[in-house]
Assembly symmetry: C2
Homo-oligomer: 453 residues x 2
């Protein structure tokens, strides 16, 4: 009985056209990472569960794909837990390994494990799939690619500046219009300091984020409702109403945060970054946005998020600075900063806005028609010359009907077809057909190479 | 408590230098696949276990990495099997998915699943990791890459010829001297036909393979010992002693196999392939080797194996023609032929013979020394011009001691260092240091680009 073939839900196959599009994105990003001195690493798909568990919160632990131990995996399992069908207790007894959930934890593990062979500051990029047992839905997959670029072992704000340059370069190369939003965890800490409400920072940013939609009065109501004292809400007014240029915002913050050393440090960091950006040619708009608070417990300095301007979609790139990523694996005081490009969302944006250059999708440029063994032999010799000239070309392998062969060339979007029958062979030439215009010419191989190369 | 970081046994991290070497191999192979009109596909790391089980024999089923179902996976498990700790019975009750074991079965599944969107003949390549729970040992990993190239939906022997051309091109590009061994399953079937011992084909090829080491007498003894009648062994003598050129071997086989239609068909196929090869410029030696019998039950025509000549290592590429790969998934009568390049063994050969071009390993070409904020600003502007000229370059992010910065450049094998201090800034120039010769020159950015670009 034949099986009806299918793949696990939330996973995808990639056809040649989809691969060409993805590779266009990956190659564009990769070239820019290299241009800035970042080098690739790769880590195994499987990590020890001890490396992964507890790093992504309780929900994350559940969403990790766990790999069943090989052999007689039940031998070491607790019999009582099995009898009770206690899945939670049994999991770690029968599974030692899990699939990578992101690239950040494996990177931290890598840095610690290879610390003696790494030259710091260590600038690395990593483009690999990750797996999450999330409920699949439109745009959310159980296997998807992340493209991370990080530098660890340097406190310099030049790294933040270069990451913004990378964002600028990548999205210019891909022709996606974007806005970079930036914030600084130290500013958020400063705000919490001056109003004495450190634990309310998330509530505050969530409420401020609604200003445009609901207005200042309702924002204030929400803050009161979340338990902020009236006095604290009053102190927050200049921050909620923050507007103007980045410099104007920073000037306001300097006044408001003057009692918080941390807050002022955050403001100074932002000023330094903006001052660098003004002096180099970064045309992508970078906007200070105090409502930006992604991964708050994780980041310690700059926070970045990139939004596509011509399409409604979540953030397509994000990241920030973290001061103790490797601490959990035993290497303290290594500061790092990095961003992650969401390849799948970028893919969706590029598709919807139709931003792929046509030549990025087509691979074969020339197809030789197959008229039979003798003609094929002649074509194979011509093919070698064409390929040696760096042109992707193929001979239809079977002496099938002309219509079938031409249909194949059309489906593969091959631009030119070469024909070598009796007549061409006698003259040592080829008939070249331009599949777009229909024009045919009798040419030598060298002429063909000149025309299509 | 900090965890001591480690990765699962049999898996590896890849550092930037290792990645550069691997990418050199992958990129070289990929460019050649494209040149021959093959297009990439990718399939998910996870496949349904129903797709994978039973395809690799009993041993293969054991070596599949299985993925624990998410959530309360024990709920659907048989309580009696759990009480007995019956791992085998429990496995498929708690795991629906497994990691890809090779690229062939996922490819067959892909072809059947997407048959209505595929234009046949379908020429695809696929370069992805596979996972096997094998006992790890030197050169054998639990995660490793395969680079497969196959064409399905064409019976033409031109495909076999082109695969040999691809082998020829790939190993010339990588500068590895190789020998291609070729056989044909139909010839082996013919041999079994004429001696009436179809089930002994593996024993026969294994024994013949020892001829050089143990001599004809001991080969014959071994055949008798394996249960071949004396008469059959007598009939085999011309085949065991087969020598000379490919054509001489084929001439002998034509005589010996004259009673076997299948055998003669195999001989004719080989003659056709060799005749094509003689007419095109394939300089890699292709040798008919009757002892080649890899995956016997699987292949139906040509069988290939590639050996490196300058290093003792197993086969570095192999494959063949199969007539019913997709049958198990419900699509019959689709013939295909393909080969698989063993990236990890190729990596070992390239390392041992030191075949990497130096420029393939280095990524950053120029580093700017960081003398402080003002100088860094100046350097960042120069850097932009250098990068826009397509040169990979970086600024050391911190104003660290000169020795530390130079050490970083040395460790990263950066060829040139640029310095911009007070003096250079006043003149609008840079001091360029050649890290190899030690030579220093005062130059404009444009001159730097000309020299190092």
């Amino acid at each position: 009985m034949a099986q009806k073939p299918a793949i696990p839900k939330g996973t995808r196959d990639f056809t040649p056209v989809e691969m060409a599009k993805r590779n266009y994105i990956f190659d564009s990003i990769k070239a820019i990472f290299l241009k800035y001195g970042y080098q690739p690493i790769e880590t195994p798909a499987m990590e020890n569960l001890s490396t992964l568990m507890g790093k992504y919160g309780e929900e994350g632990d559940k969403l990790l794909f766990k790999i069943l131990n090989s052999g007689d995996f039940l031998a070491k399992a607790d019999i009582d837990a099995l009898k009770e069908k206690n899945s939670i207790k049994t999991t770690t007894q029968i599974a030692d390994k899990g699939l990578r959930y992101d690239l950040t934890v494996p990177f931290a593990r890598f840095v610690v494990q290879h610390q003696n062979n790494i030259t710091f500051p260590f600038k690395r990029y990593q483009m690999q799939p990750v797996w999450r047992a999330d409920r699949p839905q439109k745009g959310r997959y159980r296997e998807f690619y992340q493209c991370d670029v990080d530098v660890v072992g340097s406190n310099s704000l030049i790294n933040e500046v270069e990451l913004i340059q990378i964002v600028d370069d990548v999205y210019k190369a891909l022709k996606i219009n974007v806005l970079v939003k930036m914030n600084n965890r130290k500013i958020l800490s400063g705000i919490a300091d001056i109003i004495g409400q450190a634990d309310k920072i998330v509530d505050i940013t969530v409420a401020i984020d609604k200003l445009d939609k609901i207005g200042i009065q309702k924002v204030n109501d929400e803050l009161i409702q979340k338990g902020l004292p009236r006095e604290a809400v009053d102190k927050l007014q200049p921050i909620i109403n923050l507007s103007g240029t980045n410099q104007q915002k920073l000037d306001t913050l300097k006044t408001v945060l003057k009692a918080s050393e941390t807050g002022l440090k955050g403001v100074a960091e932002m000023e330094t970054v903006f001052s660098y950006l003004q002096n180099i040619n970064v045309t992508t708009k970078v906007e200070l946005d105090l409502t930006l608070a992604r991964g708050l417990n994780y980041y310690t300095g700059a926070i970045f998020e990139v939004k596509a301007l011509d399409m409604e979609i979540g953030s397509i790139t994000g990241g920030g600075r973290y001061d103790d990523l490797t601490g959990v694996f035993g290497l303290r005081n290594v500061s790092g900063v990095g961003i992650s490009f969401g390849a799948d969302r970028i893919y969706d944006v590029m598709n919807q806005l139709d931003l792929y250059p046509k030549e990025s999708i087509v691979s074969t440029r020339l197809m030789f028609v197959n008229f039979g063994q003798r003609e094929a032999m002649y074509s194979l010799q011509a093919l070698q010359k064409v390929r040696n000239a760096g042109i992707n070309a193929e001979l239809y392998p079977d002496a099938a009907k002309m219509g079938k062969q031409m249909n194949y060339a059309n489906k593969k979007e091959i631009a030119f077809v070469a024909m070598a029958g009796e007549n061409e062979i006698q003259q040592g030439k080829l008939t070249l057909k331009n599949m777009h215009s229909g024009e045919q010419q009798l040419l030598s191989v060298e002429e063909v190479i000149n025309i299509i190369g």
